[in-house]
C-alpha cells in the first residue's frame, strides 16, 4: 500500500504524540527528544490502551495507563510496576514505515514510506466528512476572491500564480484527512484567505458535492 500523508512536521514538535489512521489501521505517530519520528500500531500490548494518549520521555514513548516505556526500536524497556525487571523482548510495539519530507509526515502500513516531491509549503491539515472524489470536485467548484481555480493534476488547484495542493488520506468511505500545501512564502493574509477557501471547500463537499 502507498504512503499516506498523516500530518505536518510543524504540528508534531519533539516530545509530542499524535493519533493517525492509515488504511483503516490505528496508528500512533510520535517524535522523540532527538527529533526522530516513529509510527507504531496504536495499541499497548499490555491492556490494549491507545498509545496516542501516551507521553514522551527522552527517546521513549510511555503508555498513559501503566507507564510502560517503549524505546525507538519498539521494545518495551521499563515497566514501572516492576522497576527491577528487564522486560522480555517479546513485549514490543508494532512498527510501521514513516518518512518526513517537505514538512509533511508520511506513513505506510506495508512496505517503505516516502513523501511526494514538491516545492510547496504546508498550509494546514484537516478532516472532511466526504470522500476524496467528492472533495476534489468541490474544490474545483469553490471560488477564491471571485474566481474559480484552474484544476491541475493530482489535487492541484491554481489561483493565478498561487497554487494549492490537496493530499488525501481516506479515513473511510465518506471521511478524508486532507493535507493542504500552498505556494511557498505567501504573505500571511493570503494564507488566511486560502485557509478560508479550505473551509468553503469543506462546506460544499459535505453538502454532497459541487452543485
Amino acid at each position: 500500500m502507498p504512503s499516506m500523508p498523516v500530518g505536518l512536521t510543524r504540528d508534531l514538535p519533539a516530545g509530542r504524540v499524535m493519533h493517525a489512521e492509515v488504511d483503516e489501521v490505528d496508528v500512533v505517530v510520535w517524535r522523540a527528544a532527538n527529533g526522530e519520528i516513529a509510527a507504531w500500531n496504536n495499541r499497548c500490548p499490555h491492556r490494549g490502551m491507545a498509545l496516542s494518549h501516551g507521553f514522551v520521555r527522552g527517546n521513549s514513548l510511555a503508555c498513559l495507563y501503566h507507564g510502560w516505556h517503549y524505546e525507538r526500536s519498539g521494545r518495551c524497556s521499563y515497566i514501572p510496576a516492576h522497576p527491577d525487571l528487564e522486560p522480555p523482548a517479546t513485549i514490543h510495539a508494532t512498527k510501521y514505515a514513516i518518512a518526513e519530507e517537505g514538512g509533511v509526515i508520511w506513513v505506510a502500513i506495508d512496505g517503505d514510506a516516502s513523501g511526494s516531491e514538491n516545492d510547496l509549503d504546508p498550509l494546514r491539515s484537516m478532516i472532511v466528512d466526504a470522500s476524496e472524489e467528492t472533495l476534489l470536485t468541490a474544490a474545483s467548484a469553490t471560488a477564491l476572491g471571485g474566481g474559480l481555480p484552474d484544476a491541475g493534476p493530482e489535487g492541484q488547484f491554481s489561483f493565478g500564480a498561487d497554487v494549492v495542493r490537496l493530499l488525501c488520506n481516506a479515513l473511510g468511505d465518506d471521511r478524508t484527512q486532507v493535507t493542504v500545501l500552498a505556494s511557498p512564502a505567501l504573505p500571511v493574509p493570503r494564507r488566511r484567505a486560502l485557509s478560508r477557501w479550505c473551509e468553503a471547500m469543506r462546506r460544499l463537499a459535505e453538502k454532497g458535492g459541487a452543485s
Binding site: 507521553f55 521499563y78 522497576p83 484537516m126 484527512q177
Partner: protein, 219 residues
C-alpha cells in the same frame, strides 16, 4: 485569609475554569462541594437563594456574589493579577477581543459541554444536536488558531495567555468525553498543550497530567 469561596462540582468544566485560573494565579481559596450530581443540589432552595439561575460555579468574596463564569474570570484577573496581563481590560483592541472569546466560551459550554453531559451523565438533552454544534465550534476555533500559526502566535489574544484561553480551554480539552476527538484539529492540539504547560496548571478528570514534564522515574 482566602481570596474567595467557590461553590464547586469536581466534574464541571465551568467550575474548573475558576479552579484553573486560581491555580495559575497562585491563589488560596475555599471550596464548598455542591452535590450537582446525583443530588441536583444546585437547584435546592438554599442554592437558588444564592444563585437564582441555579447554576454552578458560584463565587463569593466579601459582599461580592458572582454567578457567571466569565464574570468570575474577569474578577479574578482584575483583583488578583498585579501584572494586568490575564485580562487587558483597558486595552481598546485587546480588551474587546477577550470579551468576544468569553462569549465564544459560552457557546462551547452549550455545545461541547452539553454533548459531554449527555454522553457521560445521561443529561436529557439532544446529544446529536449538541455534538453537531460542537463540531462547528471546534472547526471555528481550529480556523482561528491556524491563523495564529501563520502569524507566529500561540494565544487567542495578544502575545500572552489571557482569560480568553482559560475560558475556552476546558470544554475543548474535554470534547473526547463526548466522542469528539481532536484528530482533525492540529492547531487546537498545540494550543491545548501550551495551556497544559503553563506554570501552575492543574488538571481535572478527563484532562491528564503532562507526565513528560515530571522527573523521569527511570531510564
Amino acid at each position: 485569609m482566602t481570596a474567595f469561596t467557590l461553590y464547586n462540582y469536581v466534574l464541571s468544566g465551568n467550575c474548573y475554569k475558576i479552579r484553573l485560573m486560581a491555580s495559575l494565579l497562585g491563589l488560596d481559596y475555599e471550596t464548598i462541594a455542591v452535590n450537582f450530581y446525583p443530588g441536583f443540589e444546585h437547584r435546592s432552595d438554599a442554592m437558588l437563594a444564592l444563585n437564582p439561575a441555579g447554576t454552578l460555579p458560584v463565587l463569593t468574596a466579601g459582599d461580592t456574589v458572582l454567578t457567571d463564569t466569565q464574570a468570575m474570570l474577569g474578577w479574578l484577573a482584575l483583583n488578583h493579577d498585579p501584572s494586568r496581563q490575564w485580562y487587558p481590560a483597558a486595552d481598546p483592541l485587546l480588551g474587546p477581543e477577550v470579551l468576544q472569546w468569553l462569549a465564544f466560551s459560552g457557546r462551547l459550554t452549550n455545545s461541547a459541554g452539553l454533548a459531554r453531559l449527555h454522553a457521560m451523565l445521561n443529561w436529557p438533552v439532544d446529544g446529536e444536536a449538541a455534538r453537531r454544534a460542537a463540531v462547528r465550534d471546534l472547526r471555528e476555533l481550529e480556523l482561528i488558531l491556524t491563523d495564529r500559526v501563520f502569524e507566529g502566535r500561540t494565544w487567542l489574544v495578544g502575545d500572552r495567555p489571557t482569560i480568553a484561553d482559560i475560558a475556552c480551554f476546558p470544554y475543548v480539552a474535554l470534547s473526547p468525553d463526548a466522542g469528539l476527538e481532536h484528530d482533525g484539529y492540529p492547531a487546537i492540539r498545540n494550543w491545548l498543550y501550551a495551556v497544559r504547560s503553563l506554570p501552575g496548571f492543574t488538571t481535572m478528570p478527563g484532562i491528564h497530567e503532562l507526565h513528560e514534564l515530571r522527573e523521569p522515574a527511570d531510564g
